[in-house]
């Protein structure tokens, strides 16, 4: 509402093509197993699958019954079983148990495993070990990008974050490279590429390799996307750790937006039923409030309600003909608007109730204090109280991580005390959680700098020069200081505001955090795109511990039209938040570009298991 769409905004590519492609591939794979078959689907794949195919399409290709892959025996009487799974070891074990049970019972059936988005060798190894290699045929469904909205793509890989940023497993880098390759095949070459972070750099290198190997496919095509920006999630953990206050972000924090849709419970729908609602640009009411600060949403909704009332009221005093027109032309639209309006009003009410209950205002105050770097003692006390009152295990962790990253780690005394209280409040097994968070660099203890260097040099002596660099890399994740204060100062992340920050007419991206903080990730993107390079940002890059991990890759030959050059694709490796998406949309409107921002892998907090 605050931003009329600029008339000169570039047109977005037709991402629905990705859906059609994925559906056609799936159909092709199903047809590879002719005849009736039962389909076993992994839980994580069900929602994405729902977005591109429905039961009738599956039935049409002779899928008889559907089962969920879970830790329960399934009794299927079909002669052919098809499994649609992520390439995970536990799925292989499940399949092996099923096949081996059949073998014991002297039963022969046909089995097919479809891996999405690709097959891993470790999975084949398990099939071999379990003695069913050869009994099962394997295929790949290269479904790596799901369009969630006109300007949003997702890989729907929640395990991305854990696998890469915690375990250091690079198994999804090829998936990212393949996804980029697919995009450049469909929408033309990318004239300008930027990136920051190790994962970004490796993905970019592997993608270039793919392009070289299969060259010719994109040559001579007119680019539709002018700039691609790859960003590792660990470059900016801070933004992902802040409470969200734009509407879509709040809906996510409160109800969990999964795969572009949300389950509104009876408290929202004001009936006895839950409702699964798609949240995208097609919902006209949602589309107008999704990027707004929550404080603007009430006013907007009540205005809408009044308008709607007025439009319904018009029917009084209509003659028959006018009434006929009204019913045939306007009523349907009004009804739909009415329904959407009451849903979002219900959602707002529910959000308000929850937030009031948990003292959201205090929480936000604490977060802002941490971002600005004062009242650290008070904030620590607040976190302590939060833990002791068992408010929420995840929120407590989030606050601790925010404290750690903004302060370059907790001072040892606080670390020990908060950890002890956390274990008392939420359970001793969270010892493992703390170990994971420390490894991921999310929650650390300030250490005297020299201890690490000592270990490092000791180990370095043992190895050759070439390997020494790698060792240092491995240690750097532990020794890495977040330097948030210095970065914040350099990039002006805390706007100085005289008087009141007008959230209705935002002046910068800080509005997504009530005017208190410009998301670091989005600021980096803005700065680089402005310069079309990393020039002048050396100090920032150094502070981000990315000295050798920031890159630019421009192809001079293609003189792309200025129109397409304004389209930007931002790739968050390890997930992004709705606040960041809103901030980028704001940036796009300000500059007249459209930022389309796939959240590659959704952000998930590492947990113990």
């Amino acid at each position: 509402m605050a931003f009329p769409h600029r008339p000169d905004a570039p047109e977005l590519p037709d991402f629905s093509m990705l859906k059609r492609l994925a559906r056609d591939q799936l159909i092709y794979l199903l047809e590879q197993l002719p005849g009736k078959k039962d389909l076993f689907i992994e839980a994580d794949l069900m929602s994405p699958l729902d977005r591109i195919a429905n039961v009738s399409i599956l039935k049409q290709h002779e899928v008889d019954k559907l089962y969920k892959v879970e830790n329960k025996p399934a009794f299927s009487s079909s002669e052919q079983l098809c499994f649609l799974v992520r390439p995970r070891i536990k799925n292989m074990r499940y399949i092996a148990n099923l096949v081996n049970a059949d073998k014991m019972a002297g039963r022969t059936r046909k089995y097919k495993v479809i891996f999405s988005p690709q097959k891993f060798y470790a999975c084949e190894m398990v099939l071999e070990e379990e003695g069913i290699y050869g009994d099962v045929s394997c295929d790949e469904w290269a479904f790596s990008l799901l369009p969630l909205d006109v300007d949003l793509l997702s890989m729907e890989l929640p395990e991305f974050f854990r696998d890469y940023f915690l375990e250091g497993d690079q198994c999804w880098i090829n998936t990212v490279a393949q996804a980029l390759h697919l995009l450049s095949t469909l929408y033309g070459p990318f004239p300008n590429c930027y990136g920051i972070g190790r994962c970004a750099k490796m993905s970019h290198e592997l993608w270039r390799k793919l392009e070289e190997e299969e060259d010719g496919e994109t040559k001579g095509r007119r680019p539709e996307i002018g700039h691609v920006f790859l960003l590792d999630r660990d470059v900016d953990f801070v933004t992902a750790l802040c409470s969200q206050v734009v509407y879509e972000g709040l809906v996510d924090d409160t109800f969990r937006v999964k795969c572009g849709s949300v389950d509104f419970g009876p408290e929202v729908t004001s009936s006895d039923k839950s409702l699964k609602v798609l949240l995208n640009a097609e919902d006209k009411v949602f589309n107008e409030i999704r990027n707004e600060h929550f404080s603007n949403v009430f006013g907007f909704l009540s205005q809408k309600a009044r308008n709607l009332q007025a439009q319904y009221d018009r029917r009084r005093g209509m003659d028959i003909k006018q009434m006929k027109n009204f019913v045939s032309q306007e009523l349907k639209g009004l009804k739909q608007e009415h329904r959407l309006l009451s849903l979002h009003i219900g959602a707002c009410e529910s959000i308000m109730k929850k937030k009031t209950k948990q003292d959201f205002q205090e929480l936000i105050k604490t977060e802002h204090a941490l971002l600005e770097g004062f009242s650290i003692r008070e904030s620590t006390n607040y976190i302590e109280e939060h833990i002791d009152r068992q408010v929420s295990p995840i929120e407590s962790l989030r606050l601790m991580c925010l404290l750690s990253i903004t302060e370059n780690g907790l001072i040892p005394k606080d670390y020990r005390s908060l950890k002890t209280q956390y274990l008392q409040s939420y359970g001793p097994e969270h010892l493992l959680t703390f170990s994971n968070l420390r490894r991921a660099g999310l929650l650390t203890e300030q250490a005297p700098g020299d201890t690490l260097t000592a270990v490092e040099s000791k180990v370095s002596k043992l190895v050759t020069d070439k390997a020494a660099g790698k060792i240092t890399d491995a240690f750097s994740s532990l020794a890495k200081r977040s330097n948030f204060r210095a970065i914040s100062k350099k990039l002006n992340l805390i706007p100085r505001v005289d008087g009141e920050y007008d959230l209705k007419v935002p002046r910068d991206m800080a509005y997504v955090f009530s005017g208190a903080y410009v998301p670091l990730s989005c600021r980096i993107i803005e700065q680089v795109l402005e310069r079309q390079s990393w020039q002048g940002l050396d100090e920032v890059v150094r502070l981000l511990n990315c000295s050798e991990l920031a890159f630019t890759d421009m192809t001079k030959e293609d003189k792309a039209s200025s129109e397409s050059l304004r389209l930007i694709l931002v790739v968050f490796l390890g997930g992004c938040t709705f606040s960041e998406i809103s901030a980028l949309r704001f940036l796009g409107r300000e500059k007249g570009d459209t930022g389309s921002s796939p959240g590659l892998g959704r952000s998930h907090m590492p947990r113990s298991n």
Binding site: M17, E167, C171, T185, V277, H338, K419, S425
Partner: protein
């Protein structure tokens, strides 16, 4: 960026962050309520028979015809013909009621009747010919097994490239250590984790573990892949050997400890935790592990005792407030709460008494610093959260010392009397006037305000 105290106060008092608050802004909520009323009042007029705009949803909340919904139906319909018949009827009924949705070509009932309307779905070949990436699907669709390759002469880089493409490729010719390592380095340089793991699987099979560990110690990227792989396939023994070799004692201990999560039986879990006590944790974690063991040991005793008491039905507290869940594996704070609730009066000698718990975990609880009572503002919030009656709330709000906080809480929780009295005590006529508009018309509160406003006894400050 240290600020002085003055700065801070200025910060909190500045208008910048008052732009919007979640708790005490009645106006916004009432605005919302008003909108809701308006919208609801329209319901009679529009209330409807057609659900065409939103997805039809089953009782469990899944959209009918969605894949998740269908799977649930399969589960509830395991094999019984009678049930299936019912399901069929139900489905055809619901699809009858359902108006055609633009997005789907088929109604749900159609797949129970078998294939119908074959012409309406775009055939695969049609669909493929109009997408620009027509070469894509067949290429990816072909089973990768067909690429089986019998050549033995691939160089490390060729081999890695073929592995990257998902082709089956024999690694057996890489027999010398040098060849193996070259292959590994080539895989690492390509960044593809799947290929790195494939090579590691081969190395693990063809090298002794000492040699494998030694070589990986100086190849950190590969090492991390091996560790993750061992975790995933659950090769706990080799993983522990690896950590031992690398001298990563803490990870060794944690990896062993993690196993307890897979043990459901409380006795066995307790025994397992006992084996963790001597492991090389940090001093701090050692104490946590010891306490974990002690806690579970204690919970097992309390649980057995209380389950008995509860089923005997002789103890009043268990009759009045039956336990909602077992106390096993609960955190210490919850356990303490439980013991205060069910065993408050017990003597120190009993294992379940709060005093005994406190003594047992003195070390543990000793870490926390002494603090003042939580403050009445917290008490009020807790009371509110648990829907305490207004009289009780008022009583406690009145105990809050700081006047601003008190007024704030009273306004938020609608303790009218407290707000009115406080305004009167502050002699703040303006605020009282403003509050008058927030209470219901003709209510006792309004009368009370009017009485105060009209009183000649009070010297208003404004």
């Amino acid at each position: 960026m240290n600020r002085t105290k003055g700065d801070e106060e200025e910060y909190w008092n500045s208008s910048k962050f008052k732009a919007f608050t979640f708790d005490d802004d009645d106006d916004e909520l009432s605005q919302l309520k008003e909108s809701k009323r308006a919208v609801n009042s329209l319901r009679d007029f529009v209330d409807d028979d057609d659900d065409d705009d939103l997805e039809r949803v089953s009782w469990s909340g899944e959209p009918v015809g969605s894949i998740s919904w269908s799977i649930k139906e399969t589960a509830s319909n395991s094999g019984s013909n009678h049930e299936r018949e019912q399901l069929k009827n139900r489905n055809s009924f619901s699809s009858y009621a359902q108006l055609p949705k633009p997005a789907s070509t088929y109604s749900l009932s159609s797949f129970f009747r078998g294939r119908t309307r074959p012409g309406s779905f775009q055939s695969l070949s049609d669909a493929l010919s109009d997408t620009p990436a027509k070469s894509y699907a067949p290429e990816l669709g072909r089973p990768k097994g067909e690429y089986r390759d019998y050549s033995n002469d691939w160089s490390p880089s060729d081999t890695v490239r073929r592995l990257r493409k998902g082709k089956v490729c024999s690694l057996e010719r890489f027999r010398s250590l040098q060849d193996k390592l070259q292959l590994l380095e080539e895989a690492v340089s390509m960044h593809d984790g799947n290929v790195i793991t494939a090579v590691l699987i081969f190395l693990k099979r063809t090298l002794s573990k000492e040699i494998l560990f030694r070589e990986l110690e100086v190849r950190q990227v590969a090492l991390r892949h091996l560790i993750h792989f061992l975790k995933e396939i659950g090769d706990q023994k080799l993983l522990l050997d690896l950590f031992r070799f690398l001298d990563r004692t803490e990870e060794l201990a944690l990896t062993h400890y993690r196993e307890h999560l897979n043990i459901q039986d409380p006795e066995k879990r307790k025994e397992f935790l006992k084996t963790c006590i001597g492991l090389p944790f940090s001093a701090e974690d050692s104490a946590h592990i010891q306490d974990h063991y002690t806690l579970l040991e204690r919970q097992i005793i309390i649980e057995a005792n209380d389950r008995h008491l509860e089923s005997a039905g002789q103890t009043e507290i268990f009759r009045k407030h039956p336990r909602k869940a077992s106390i096993l594996n609960m955190p210490l704070v919850t356990t303490l709460f439980y013991s205060c609730f069910y065993h408050y009066t017990e003597a120190e000698g009993t294992f379940s008494s709060p005093v005994n718990l406190k003594k047992t975990f003195k070390n543990w609880l000793g870490y926390t610093k002494k603090r003042a009572p939580i403050g009445f503002h917290r008490v009020v919030e807790i009371l509110h959260k648990n829907s305490a009656p207004v009289q009780i709330l008022q009583e406690y709000v009145n105990l809050v010392e700081d006047v601003d906080t008190k007024l704030n809480l009273a306004t938020r929780f609608k303790c009218h009397d407290v707000v009115i009295d406080t305004c009167r005590d502050l002699k703040d006529r303006q605020q009282l006037l403003a509050y008058r508009s927030k209470v219901d018309k003709g209510s006792a509160e309004e009368e009370k305000i009017d009485a105060i406003l009209n009183s000649s006894q009070i010297r208003w400050k404004n």
